[in-house]
């Protein structure tokens, strides 16, 4: 019989998520990549660096995968890599290509178009891995697909991390 382990697994999932709330390093490459979306509601609220410090009109922690701008990102957060939510780290170059997400800013209730650009030119940062898939599409809809190596059109194809740049407000339900 193979129908008997389900309750254990469910318990494991909730335990796994709970651990994530108390130990940041557990939200490592695998954790957020697989569970970013689920962990997000449980991770709030957390007392770390807050967006108000540097990003007017926003709330939340730009070093956390649950930060609103990251709803369709896929990569390492530049905030953890020497850059910021919308600036590349020193020594890197922002990718010429990007993909676009539509994320809701909880501070004003509006949807914004976010450009996710990889910062190219040096080794993977390997910190604050974050992969979320809200509004994300398969690669045959490339403009909104995050499963593409977007530094591939740069001379240096090395991806250090990924920024989330606000392009502007999205029209509702376009």
């Amino acid at each position: 019989m193979h129908l008997n382990r389900f309750d254990d697994l469910a318990a494991d999932v909730s335990r796994g998520l709970a651990r994530r709330t108390s130990r940041r390093s557990f939200t490592s490459k695998v954790g957020v990549w697989l569970f970013g979306a689920v962990a997000a509601p449980l991770l709030l609220p957390v007392a770390r660096g807050r967006a108000e410090d540097r990003y007017a009109g926003e709330e939340g922690d730009p070093r956390s995968c649950d930060y609103w701008r990251y709803c369709a990102t896929n990569g390492y957060l530049c905030e953890c890599c020497g850059g910021s939510a919308n600036e590349c780290p020193p020594g890197t170059t922002m990718s010429a290509l990007s993909w676009i997400g539509t994320c809701r800013n909880p501070a004003d209730g509006k949807n914004y178009l976010i450009s996710y650009n990889d910062c190219c030119g040096t080794a993977q940062c390997n910190r604050c891995s974050c992969s979320r898939h809200e509004s994300e599409t398969p690669v045959y809809r490339a403009g909104t697909a995050n499963d593409i190596h977007w530094c591939s059109a740069n001379e240096s194809t090395a991806i250090n991390c990924t920024v989330a740049v606000v392009l502007g407000a999205a029209e509702d339900e376009v």
């Binding site: 382990r5 389900f6 335990r15 796994g16 695998v30 697989l34 809809r141 194809t157 090395a158």
Partner: protein, 406 residues
């Protein structure tokens, strides 16, 4: 120090002669250097998996293993974003890969050809222009059904196919494919590609690699409302896909033009529970499930069964279900279009594969969510019983494929 350091030479060239003068009587005879263990003939339960090194995406590898003994049989380093095909005669593996040179990752693209019996390199074809698509879906290269052509999908982000003749190991040219991506083998020497409007572009090639005919279908799914997940499987030339929402689509690619079957639901189309925490306690007992993962579907030809990786929508809250790992593998009779079994997984699964033989095993790439270690688990595909695991499989198993093809 328990053992004496019996000599100290700083130039190794001198070493062996000195060593031999020190050798005395022993129970173990001196063994030869420079031996390779030969590759055994492949067993029914051998398979490859792609170990995608998330710590350094420049360097993935394909690993060959025996699911009966959970032993590794060999491996191929394969650069960045590789794909692998076995020639129909079983003599060669074709690996399309990108080499990313130095810390700045200056890119070069190649198809490396391996002798399947020794895993030694048999040839290398250089792909000019650094254009092949660097993305994780595996259907970025296609070996035509007759084994004569390898088609490489390019994304710059303009889309095209590079045509490689495998008999001469030469590049025959490029075909622009505007708006259409990835590629699936069609008829004996053609491919079909998924276009952004939900249609298929089908291209047939001549034996010299030139384009004989092109055909664009009507849209067969709605990419705005319920996108098709590109990760499909073939059963005797008929392809099966699922949408984000769990609608199964069949696409018959055996003829000149694709023939689309009527969609049917893999999962119940219920509403999702009101909130996440409440739903945890009802998991598995109620509420809708959705397909998700990296290798979501697999088929078993002798029994005509379809296997799908599924999770309760309550786990993902409806956010990014298409890549969310699975709690169970649901088993369907593909002709009756109904579920006939559910296999609970020990750990959440991201990739599934069923061996093609009469006593099939279900291979699962999984994640222990406590330790976050990746696992390669082997189940009996019929009873669903967990059998064994391959230890230390690597970083991320993106997909499995059989020794003789997919």
């Amino acid at each position: 120090m328990p053992h004496s350091i019996s000599f100290a030479l700083s130039v190794l060239g001198l070493m062996l002669g000195v060593l031999l003068s020190h050798v005395g009587h022993a129970d173990i005879a001196a063994e030869p250097l420079n031996r390779n263990r030969p590759l055994d003939p492949a067993g029914a339960h051998w398979a490859w998996y792609l170990d995608f090194n998330v710590d350094d995406i420049a360097n993935s590898r394909f690993v060959l293993f025996d699911a009966d003994t959970a032993r590794m049989k060999g491996s191929l380093g394969s650069g960045a974003f590789p794909t692998m095909h076995a020639s129909p005669d079983g003599r060669f593996y074709y690996v399309a890969e990108s080499w990313l040179r130095g810390p700045r990752r200056i890119r070069e693209d190649f198809v490396t050809i391996y002798d399947a019996s020794s895993l030694q390199i048999d040839g290398i074809i250089e792909l000019p222009g650094a254009r092949r698509a660097l993305m994780s879906p595996r259907d970025r290269t296609v070996l035509t059904a007759d084994g004569s052509l390898l088609l490489v999908f390019n994304f710059t982000p303009s889309t095209s196919l590079t045509v490689i003749d495998l008999a001469s190991r030469t590049i025959k040219g490029d075909v622009p494919t505007p708006g259409c991506s990835l590629a699936y083998p069609t008829s004996s020497r053609g491919v079909s590609m998924i276009c952004g409007d939900g249609s298929l572009l089908t291209i047939h090639f001549g034996s010299d690699g030139t384009v004989l005919a092109q055909h664009r279908s009507k849209p067969f799914f709605n990419p705005d409302k319920d996108p098709l997940i590109e990760n499909g499987v073939s059963l005797e030339g008929v392809w099966y896909f699922t949408t984000y929402g769990g609608q199964a689509h069949s696409v018959d690619l055996r003829g000149e033009e694709p023939v689309f079957g009527s969609p049917w639901p893999l999962v119940d189309q219920n509403k999702k529970p009101a909130n996440f925490l409440a739903s945890i306690f009802t998991m598995g007992k109620a509420g809708p499930w959705l397909p998700g993962g990296f290798q979501i579907l697999t088929v078993h030809e002798p029994t005509r069964r379809l296997y799908a990786l599924t999770h309760p929508i309550t786990w993902s809250e409806g956010k990014g279900d298409h890549v969310f790992p699975g709690a169970e593998v649901w088993v369907y009779d593909i002709d009756e279009q109904k579920r006939i079994d559910r296999i609970k997984l020990r750990d959440v699964g991201i990739s599934i594969h069923v061996t093609p033989d009469e006593s099939p095993l279900l291979l699962v790439g999984a994640v222990d969510i406590e330790t976050e270690e990746f696992r390669l688990e082997v189940y009996d595909a019929e009873s669903g019983d967990f059998l064994r695991e391959l230890e230390e499989p690597g970083e991320v198993m993106f997909h499995f494929q059989g020794v003789s093809g997919r």
